[in-house]
């Protein structure tokens, strides 16, 4: 299958310290990839380089064959490289329904309209309803985001990103901070993501990683030290040394 997302030899140094070194990866539509690594491994820097929030020193990022270098984050979003927005980046005074309306209308370039309401745009409403249903947010649809449960806010992040119809979705710890009782909802939402969407998930929770990913990439000190099947990752000596530590021991013992 053709690659939808390609990163070639991405490099970035901060004041002489190489935080990203020759990082390359390729993803095809439908891929479910987890990006893991110890704190300070350069995961966030990598995401920022890819989304255009940071400028790489060298390297190429392409989406569906188109080079993204030189594009700003907004242009990358419009082309289909979408990062799930962390809760702190949602709009606290707006409802989930309005979030999705904004995303859908923005995608269609229709937000400039002063007249007519989105309540009278059936195709927009339909799409919003479908997203709310997919993520189980119907009950919270008309409450201000500031007033809904944290788990629902995190689900909204995913719905919001999906409303932009991404080709590649970057998820940043989608279950972090969510109470245990609500994590199954997040997991089923992740399982229900569109089949042709390529998903790259940064996650610390190894249980979630093993359940979600077909492929795991381990980043340590700015370089990829492992790229392979989840079953292999715990057996890799470099990974165990760099990151997994006691967890790998527990798991292989189990």
């Amino acid at each position: 299958m053709n690659a939808v997302f390609e990163v070639e030899r991405l490099n970035k140094t901060f004041g002489g310290l190489a935080v990203t070194q020759a990082v390359s990866l390729t993803m095809a539509p439908g891929d479910r990839v987890a990006l893991i690594g110890p704190n300070g491994a350069g995961k966030t820097t990598f995401v920022n380089l890819v989304t255009g929030h940071l400028k790489p020193d060298s390297g190429v990022v392409s989406l569906a064959g188109e080079q993204l270098n030189g594009m700003n984050p907004m242009q990358r979003v419009q082309r289909g490289l979408v990062r799930s927005f962390q809760v702190t980046r949602l709009f606290p005074e707006m409802t989930p329904r309005e979030h999705l309306a904004l995303a859908v209308l923005q995608r269609q370039g229709r937000t400039g309209r002063l007249f007519g309401t989105f309540w009278s745009m059936p195709e927009v409403l339909e799409e919003i309803e479908a997203l709310l249903r997919t993520l189980g947010l119907e009950g919270a649809a008309d409450h201000k985001v500031a007033e809904i449960a944290y788990g629902q806010q995190r689900l909204l992040e995913i719905a919001f990103a999906l409303a932009l119809r991404p080709k590649v979705l970057l998820l940043d710890e989608p279950a972090a901070g969510v109470p245990q009782s609500e994590t199954p909802r997040i997991e089923s939402a992740l399982a229900g993501l569109p089949a042709d969407l390529a998903v790259l998930m940064i996650e610390h929770d190894m249980d979630l990683v093993f359940r979600f990913a077909q492929r795991v990439i381990v980043l340590a000190a700015g370089t990829i030290i492992f790229d392979g099947a989840p079953g292999e990752v715990t057996k890799d000596a470099r990974v165990r040394e760099a990151y997994l530590g006691s967890y790998a021991d527990d798991r292989s013992a189990a």
Binding site: M74, R89, L90, R110, L114, T117, F118
Partner: protein, 286 residues
């Protein structure tokens, strides 16, 4: 009974004029976070332009109002582009200094161009006489101000809460970098909101000219009144501004009727009480 009704009508008309002018300021302060002391100056510019169009050029009232509102927006647009954009997200003191500077410049220019005298905007016949409501008659222009106030409240609520533009505006206000990341051109959204706010100021200045007469120091004379309405109502809240205007309009008008020697004492007493009890304004955003 007659005087109670007179007070009520006057209070309502005065409150609605305050509302039409101040709601734009509430938008700029609550949504765009700019303390725009020059807001009254734009109301004044609207009044001057309308007076010039209707009285001096002899245009019809409606044409004069439309031209004056459009003219004020046209005058304000480059000011937004060149001056206001520098003070979005800046400290409030900087905003106060910049906009008070703009106010005095506008006063100076108005004084130079139109002279220091009071300007009237001749009303069309239909608005100049009394309207018989059956049980009593009231001045048509007061009724007109009341209707305009209600129409502005409904239209603005619809724009902000129901239209795609409103969603985009609220998103830009809630979280500008996030809205920008989605592809919302926040600068254009701000410019459009500013234009709407200024247009409303101009419209209020014209409709309210019978109650708040147009003269060069208008911008300064009512600056505090408009600010007070916004703070009492809660910046950014349409319902809050409406409530504040009705309450303060009632207090002020009643005070002036019954104990005129106290001047604006009761108006500001009410303001102090409301601010103590509702520090965020009657319906302010958190």
């Amino acid at each position: 009974m007659q005087s109670v009704l007179s007070i009520a009508v006057d209070a309502l008309a005065y409150g609605m004029v305050l509302f039409v002018i101040s709601i734009g300021l509430s938008m700029t302060m609550g949504l765009m976070r700019v303390v725009n002391l020059a807001h009254g100056a734009f109301a004044m510019v609207g009044g001057y332009l309308a007076s010039y169009a209707v009285r001096d050029l002899g245009l019809g009232y409606v044409a004069g109002v439309v031209l004056a509102v459009a003219g004020t927006v046209v005058i304000a647009a480059p000011i937004e582009r060149l001056l206001y954009r520098r003070i979005y997200n800046k400290a409030e003191l900087i905003q106060v200094l910049m906009t008070i500077g703009i106010t005095f410049c506008v006063i100076g220019i108005a004084n130079y161009v139109f002279g220091p005298t009071l300007k009237t905007i001749p009303l069309p016949e239909v608005l100049s006489g009394p309207v018989d409501l059956g049980f009593r008659s009231i001045a048509a222009h007061k009724l007109f101000a009341i209707v305009c106030g209600l129409a502005v409240a409904v239209a603005l609520w619809y724009l902000v809460e129901r239209t795609p533009f409103g969603v985009k505006l609220r998103a830009s206000v809630d979280n500008a970098p996030m809205a920008a990341a989605l592809g919302v051109r926040t600068k254009s959204v701000y410019a459009a909101s500013f234009a709407i706010a200024v247009g409303l100021a101009a419209f209020g200045g014209i409709v309210g000219a019978e109650l708040l007469p147009i003269e060069p120091y208008y911008a300064l004379r009512y600056m505090v009144t408009f600010l007070v309405v916004v703070s009492v109502g809660g910046a950014g809240s349409i319902g809050g501004a409406l409530l504040a205007c009705l309450v303060l309009g009632a207090v002020d008008t009643t005070g002036r009727y019954l104990v005129p020697e106290y001047g604006e004492f009761f108006f500001y007493l009410a303001v102090i009480v409301i601010v103590c009890v509702f520090p965020r304004g009657l319906l302010g955003r958190a």
